[in-house]
């Protein structure tokens, strides 16, 4: 019998109100982290797990369903968006001005929404609907890159700090604190301003801003998990530190990280759009939503559609990820189970 089989499959961990409360930034991480069931590879078969997930996640929770629907739609647009736009013809090209470099069709700019141009046209006659649906992939690619970098770095730092403890922990967490001492967007602006305006640098800047949050989150998880009996047992039967950390501790910390990632997709999308709005992210003619809002800024009094639709697209996308993130948190948080 392996160690995994002896684990209780769902240890309810509602920590008592402790006497020692960590610093403000840490508390946010622990608020998210506390009281979540330890989840190990479950021997029950997958179909019943998916069934249970469907019941608990979707039934009677229209907002979760709405969020999931939005995310699916967003993924479809990510894959097909710019192709769909181009397939409708040259005049629906998301990046090129309507009639090439010549200004022969300048009168076709700033057309209001119509059957032909659902979201109207912009200042050089491009179809706003095409640009909006083409923009999905930028938001997703950016958010994915930011989170992959941030989660990788943060998880490694947090896991090592939490598991090793002592001076290593102290050093790593003080470095983390240095980054957490800045308001996120302000630091991101400073970093991408130093690196120069481009989408790539915006991604780097936001990754630098986000990893410390994951380091804290993972460290808190590792700290609480490593005192469990099964970890001790694993050590006792001679498992190496690597094995204990990777096979016995990390699998239990994963769900927390996944929830946080789902919630952070929205923030990452918004922060990138914010950087683009200042001029530090995407550069024209990239149809990134934040950049489109900047480009539309000077005309919005006469052409409301130009600015409204990219913003709505941003809002709806972020909303979808937030709703699903919240739903997942409720689903995985044993405190909210009152059945």
């Amino acid at each position: 019998m392996s160690i995994e089989d002896t684990h209780p499959t769902s240890v309810r961990t509602v920590p008592p109100r402790t006497a020692a409360v960590p610093a403000a930034s840490e508390r946010a991480a622990t608020l998210l982290a506390e009281g979540r069931a330890s989840r190990m590879a479950d021997p029950t078969d997958w179909r019943s797990r998916i069934g249970r997930f469907n019941r608990r996640f979707f039934r009677g929770k229209p907002l979760n369903a709405l969020g999931a629907f939005i995310i699916v739609l967003f993924f479809i647009l990510t894959i097909l968006g710019s192709n769909l736009a181009r397939a409708r013809g040259v005049e629906y090209d998301p990046t090129r001005p309507r009639c090439g470099e010549s200004n022969s069709c300048i009168s076709q700019k700033f057309e209001g929404p119509s059957w032909k141009h659902w979201f109207g046209t912009d200042d050089i006659g491009r179809d706003v609907f095409s640009r909006v649906i083409s923009g999905a992939k930028y938001s997703l690619a950016i958010a994915a890159m930011i989170l992959v970098i941030a989660v990788t770095v943060g998880t490694i730092v947090g896991a090592v700090a939490g598991y090793m403890g002592g001076a290593v922990d102290e050093l790593l967490m003080r470095i983390t604190d240095m980054f957490l001492a800045f308001p996120a967007l302000v630091l991101a602006i400073a970093i991408s301003a130093s690196l120069g305006p481009s989408l790539r640098n915006a991604v780097i800047a936001l990754s630098v801003v986000y990893w410390p949050w994951y380091a804290r989150l993972v460290r808190a998880q590792v700290l609480s998990i490593k005192t469990r009996e099964y970890v001790e047992a694993a050590r006792a039967i001679g498992s190496s530190h690597n094995r204990v950390l990777l096979r016995h501790i990390m699998p239990n910390a994963v769900s927390v990280v996944i929830i946080q990632m789902t919630l952070d997709v929205g923030y990452a999308v918004l922060a990138t759009a914010g950087l683009s709005f200042i001029g530090l992210g995407a550069q024209p003619p990239t149809p990134e939503w934040g950049r489109m809002i900047t480009d539309a800024r000077n005309f919005f009094r006469d052409a409301w559609w130009f600015i409204t639709f990219p913003g709505l697209a941003l809002t709806i996308t972020v909303l979808g990820f937030n709703l699903v993130g919240d739903g997942l948190r409720d689903y995985l948080d044993p405190r909210t189970v009152r059945e």
Partner: protein, 336 residues
């Protein structure tokens, strides 16, 4: 007891400030462009550029440069702004009050609206308050603040003409004196109701936009905190012994529900400062955020790093205060 915590946190503060300066210093050395060339201008000869490098100590070893930088920071000297040709600290002094007024107004609004909304939506589930509360907390975090700002500007200025589109005051109006440097407060202190009304009207749109995100977080925290507390045994006991519902809610439940809210409040300051950068641009609000972005566009890195450092400093201090307040509010907590 509290004294000891404050001292402890102050030591920590020194460490954090050291870290902050290290981060901004490294950043300003990441810059790929040649700052001396930027100062000299594109047509300057190589000798002039070299002279400027020498003059600004750019040829010194990195460690020497960092020590110089630290010595400056300790006395709030962030170097000279290459765009305004003034010390960055003077610029910051000029622009900081606008940001403080805006962020204070936003936080005030978020608390004053968010707390009652959160309480009411927890106490009366599925009532109109609950629906509004949930709507706010869902949309607030999803909407880009700069977009919301532009939308508000479109409706309330361009369409309806109710509110001004930006600035703290119209350009021809003389600002009130330098008592607190907050225009709304100063004009009230001087008893100038007209001026107060004008500056207040200018403050409404930016602060509402800025408050919206924090409002969402606060509403949500208060609501979930209240829901959790209201289901606990001691609340049932309080009800069982016949206390009025209002007493149960305010005296028994609210106090405990507020603790987690206090934590997020400290973090909200960071969110609000970040959001202020974007909102200030849209509303031409003459604050630090707009100053920093102008600095970015003019490659004025001293201005950008100085502003970053000041904002981080304020943020750290606010969170220190929140940590201390935490102990004051909840005697069970200690930082032993």
């Amino acid at each position: 007891m509290i004294f000891r915590i404050v001292v402890r946190r102050l030591f920590f503060l020194i460490f954090v400030l050291f870290g902050l300066s290290l981060v901004t210093f490294s950043l300003s050395h990441l810059i790929p462009s040649n700052p001396a060339r930027l100062i000299a201008g594109p047509r300057a000869s190589k000798e002039v550029v070299d002279k400027i490098r020498e003059q600004y100590g750019m040829n010194d070893p990195v460690v020497t440069q960092y020590v110089d930088y630290m010595q400056g920071i300790v006395v709030f000297d962030f170097g000279e702004s290459t765009s305004s040709r003034r010390p960055v600290s003077d610029d910051i002094k000029q622009y900081l009050p606008a940001t403080v007024e805006l962020t204070l107004a936003a936080l005030f609004l978020a608390i004053v609206v968010g707390m009652p909304l959160g309480i009411l939506s927890a106490v009366r589930p599925n009532s109109i308050f609950d629906i509004i509360g949930r709507l706010v907390s869902i949309t607030g975090l999803a909407m880009p603040s700069f977009w919301l700002a532009l939308m508000f500007q479109f409706f309330f200025f361009a369409k309806l003409g109710w509110l001004p589109d930006g600035q703290r005051l119209p350009s021809q109006v003389e600002p009130p004196g330098q008592i607190t440097t907050l225009y709304t407060v100063d004009s009230l202190l001087r008893g100038d109701i007209g001026l107060f009304w004008t500056s207040f009207k200018h403050l409404i749109l930016p602060s509402v936009v800025l408050a919206y995100g924090s409002l969402a977080v606060i509403t949500r925290m208060v609501r979930s905190g209240m829901l959790e507390v209201l289901s606990q045994d001691y609340v049932r006991t309080a009800r069982a012994k016949g206390l009025r519902e209002s007493v149960v809610v305010v005296k028994h439940a609210l106090k405990n529900a507020l603790l987690p809210t206090l934590t997020v409040l400290g973090l909200q300051v960071g969110l609000v400062f970040g959001g202020a950068v974007l909102v200030e641009i849209v509303f031409s609000w003459p604050g630090l955020g707009r100053y920093a972005v102008q600095g970015i566009n003019q490659f004025d890195y001293n201005a950008v790093m100085g502003t970053t450092l000041i904002i981080a400093f304020i943020y750290v201090v606010v969170n220190l205060v929140v940590d201390v307040l935490y102990v004051v509010v909840d005697p069970r907590i200690s930082y032993a």
